[in-house]
Amino acid sequence: MTGGAEAFADLEARRGDFPALDQEVNGNRLVYLDNAATSQKPRAVIEEVRRFYERDNSNVHRGVHELSNRATLGFEGARRRAAEFIGAATPEEIIFTRGTTEGINLVAAAWAGRHLRPGDRILLTEMEHHSNLVPWQILAARVGAEIEFVPVVGDEGLLDLSGFDARVRGARLFACTHISNALGTINPVKELCARARAAGAVALVDAAQSAGHAPLDVREIGCDFLAFSGHKMAGPTGIGILYGRRELLEKMDPYQGGGEMISSVHFEHSAWAPVPHKFEAGTPDISGAFGLRAAMDYLDAIGRERIMAHDLALAEYAYARLAEIPGIRLLGPARGRAGLVSFVLGDIHAHDVVMLADRVGIALRGGHHCTQPLHRRLGVESTVRASFYLYNTFAEVDRLADVLREIRRYFSR
C-alpha cells in the first residue's frame, strides 16, 4: 500500500533533522514537494552557518589574526571537501560561485568568450534549463557563434541521440544537463562527454539536479566543466561550485576584476592570482562555504547511492500512483527517472492545481520550470511538478495522489 516505506525507514527517520518540515501550512502538515527548486536544510547545516558567525566570522586570505586564520582554513577546507565530493583531481579545480547559473556564466564569459570565434558552434539539448541556454545565447550574440540543439523525443522526454556524432562534430562546446529539472530524465552524460570530447568539443555538465542526489565523479563522467548549487543539496543559498579541468582554467580570462583575484596591481595593469582565486573576485560567501561543507558531510553520512535509490523508488511509485488518475498526462520517462514527476491534470491549468494543493499544505510548482522552449516543444504551456528529496515519504506520495483526485473533482463539479 505504501510502496517501499519499510525499505527506506532509515531515510524517513531523517525527517526530524529538517526543522522547516515540522510545521503546518493552511492547517495541514506540510508536504514539501518542491525540492528541484530548493531543498530544505538539515539542522547540521543551519548550525554550522550559525557557528561560523558566532565564532569564526572574519574575512578570508591574507589575514594574520586568529579569526581570519580560522575563516581561511574553513573556507579552503570546504574547497578540498568539494573536490573530494565530486572526484576532482585537485582543490585548485574547484571555484566557488553563487550557484549553477553563475558557474555556467563564468564558463561562457571566461572560457568561451576568449576562445570562440565567429561561426563556431555550440551544441546544447532541447531540455536545458534557461541557465544553460541564455548564457550561451548572450555569448553567441557577442562573438558571432551559432547554437544547435540535440532534440528531445515525445512525452518520454529522452534525448534523440541518433545524429549526435554528426551534430557534435566541429562543435567547440557541448553543454548538457545531467538530470532534467522539468522531465526527470537522467542523461547518459558519461557517454555524451566521451563522444563530445572525442569530436574535439569541450564538455560542460549542469549538475544542479544531480549533485546531492546521486554519486558524482567528474573524472568518471569525463567532463571539462561541471556546475552545481549548494541550495538544492541541503546547503545554503548563495553558494555553488564550478569544477573546471585545470589545463582549461589556466587558459581562461578572469571572470570579474577586484580584490582576491590578483597577485599584483599597478595603476596601469595587474597580474592575476593563480587558479582558482583568479575567478573569485571580492569577498566570497564564506559562511555559505562552511554550510556547504556541512551539507556534503550530512549527505555522505547517509550515502548518495542510498539517496539516489530512494529518489528512483519514490519517483517510480509516484509515476504509478499518478498514472491511475483519469485524464492525467505524465511527462518524462516511465522508468529510471530521477526524483521528480511532471504532469498536466486534464484541462486544469497548472497554477490552479498548485494553488489548490497549497490550500491543503502540499508545496508543488507549476509553470514552465525555466524550460520554456522545451514546454513549447512538448506542446504544453505549463506543467505541475512534484520533486522529491531524501526526507519525502511514500505516504506523502499517496497524499498527493488523493489530493490531485480531489482537485479534479472540484473542477468537474
Binding site: M355, L356, F411
Partner: protein, 157 residues
C-alpha cells in the same frame, strides 16, 4: 476539501473557464494584442475591431488558468458595444475591485464575481491579463503587454 476557495472559483468563473465566450480570432482590420504573464506563461491574444469610438467586435485565443480564461471571456462580453471611454472606466473599476475588493455591484454587473480575487494577491495578475490587452488594443498602444506593469501587486500589506 476546497470549499474555502469557492469565493475565488465561483461557479460562473468555472463555467466561463471551461466554456469561454468569444473564444476566436478575428480577421483584419481587427487589432490584435498579445498579453503575456511571464510568471506562469499565460498567453492571451486579444482581437478588437472598432467602429469609430465603439468596440464593434472582440475575441480572444490563448491559454491560461481558470481565473485568466474566465476573466478574458467575461471581459469580452462586457466591453462589446462599449465606447473607448467606457472601456477605460470599466478597466479602472475592475482593477480597483480585484486589488481592493471594493465593488459597486450595480456598476460591475456580472464581473462582480471576481471581487474575491483581492483575497488572493498572487491571482490579481491572472484576472488583469486580458484587461491590459484590451486597454492597449483600444488605445492603440503596444502590440504586446505583460502583467509586469505597475499596480497589479494587490493591496500593500
Amino acid at each position: 476539501m476546497f470549499e474555502d476557495l469557492d469565493e475565488l472559483y465561483q461557479e460562473v468563473i468555472r463555467e466561463h473557464s471551461s466554456h469561454p465566450r468569444n473564444f476566436r480570432a478575428l480577421p483584419a482590420p481587427a487589432r490584435a494584442v498579445d498579453g503575456h504573464n511571464p510568471l506562469c506563461g499565460d498567453q492571451v491574444r486579444l482581437f478588437v475591431e472598432m467602429d469609430g469610438e465603439r468596440v464593434k467586435d472582440v475575441g480572444f485565443t490563448g491559454q491560461g488558468c481558470a481565473i485568466s480564461r474566465a476573466s478574458a471571456s467575461m471581459m469580452t462580453d462586457a466591453i462589446k458595444g462599449k465606447s473607448r471611454a467606457e472601456v477605460r472606466e470599466a478597466f479602472g473599476a475592475f482593477h480597483e475591485m480585484v486589488t481592493t475588493g471594493h465593488c459597486d455591484e450595480g456598476k460591475m454587473g456580472k464581473l462582480a464575481v471576481f471581487s474575491g480575487v483581492h483575497k488572493f494577491p498572487v491571482r490579481v495578475k491572472c484576472a488583469m491579463l486580458a484587461w491590459h490587452a484590451a486597454l492597449s488594443a483600444i488605445e492603440g498602444g503596444a502590440p504586446e503587454v505583460t502583467t509586469e506593469s505597475p499596480g497589479d501587486e494587490g493591496p500593500k500589506p
